[in-house]
Amino acid sequence: GESVGLHLPTLSVQEGDNSIINCAYSNSASDYFIWYKQESGKGPQFIIDIRSNMDKRQGQRVTVLLNKTVKHLSLQIAATQPGDSAVYFCAENLLGSARQLTFGSGTQLTVLP
């Protein structure tokens, strides 16, 4: 969804379920994408990245999917845990542009007990 002003899209999931967080990116020339997790009072923490020559990449409990046709990125978190509660941002970058990242508006993930 879209964020307006201070309103962040939210996603609530039960502990143990899988989470899917979506992101639409803006620049069709972007060729590097990153997901960050930001907990309250902390800076963004790198989760996983993917280059535009791939459509899927897996990490530990996380998977990123890239659909360049519709400029869409998603983050899947398996077996969501309470420690996964945070704001998640996608970011895009042009390789060679010295990591000038453009961040999306973020999604607040809340894990319910």
Binding site: G5, Q45, F89, A91, A98, S105
Partner: protein, 114 residues
Amino acid sequence: DAGVTQSPTHLIKTRGQQVTLRCSPKSGHDTVSWYQQALGQGPQFIFQYYEEEERQRGNFPDRFSGHQFPNYSSELNVNALLLGDSALYLCASSLTRQAGEKLFFGSGTQLSVL
């Protein structure tokens, strides 16, 4: 291995004042980027420093300036503060010329302009 450190953690200023924020990059990193994060929004790129020079700049006015020192640490200066400058200021470091270089962020400086 220390990560990215920023100081101070919190700061309160009044309109028209000037502020300096400081950042020490992660050990081994040579590039520092600064981002502004307004409440409820994603970070916005301000500028990046490499080899003591501003390498790239985002859409921010000249009131925002910076510096990088020979030890790779960096400062962000904001002059003539406006209420709208209230935000979390994030520093991120990376290693240029490393394939797949990743940005590591500090915890930020929370600036409040009254």
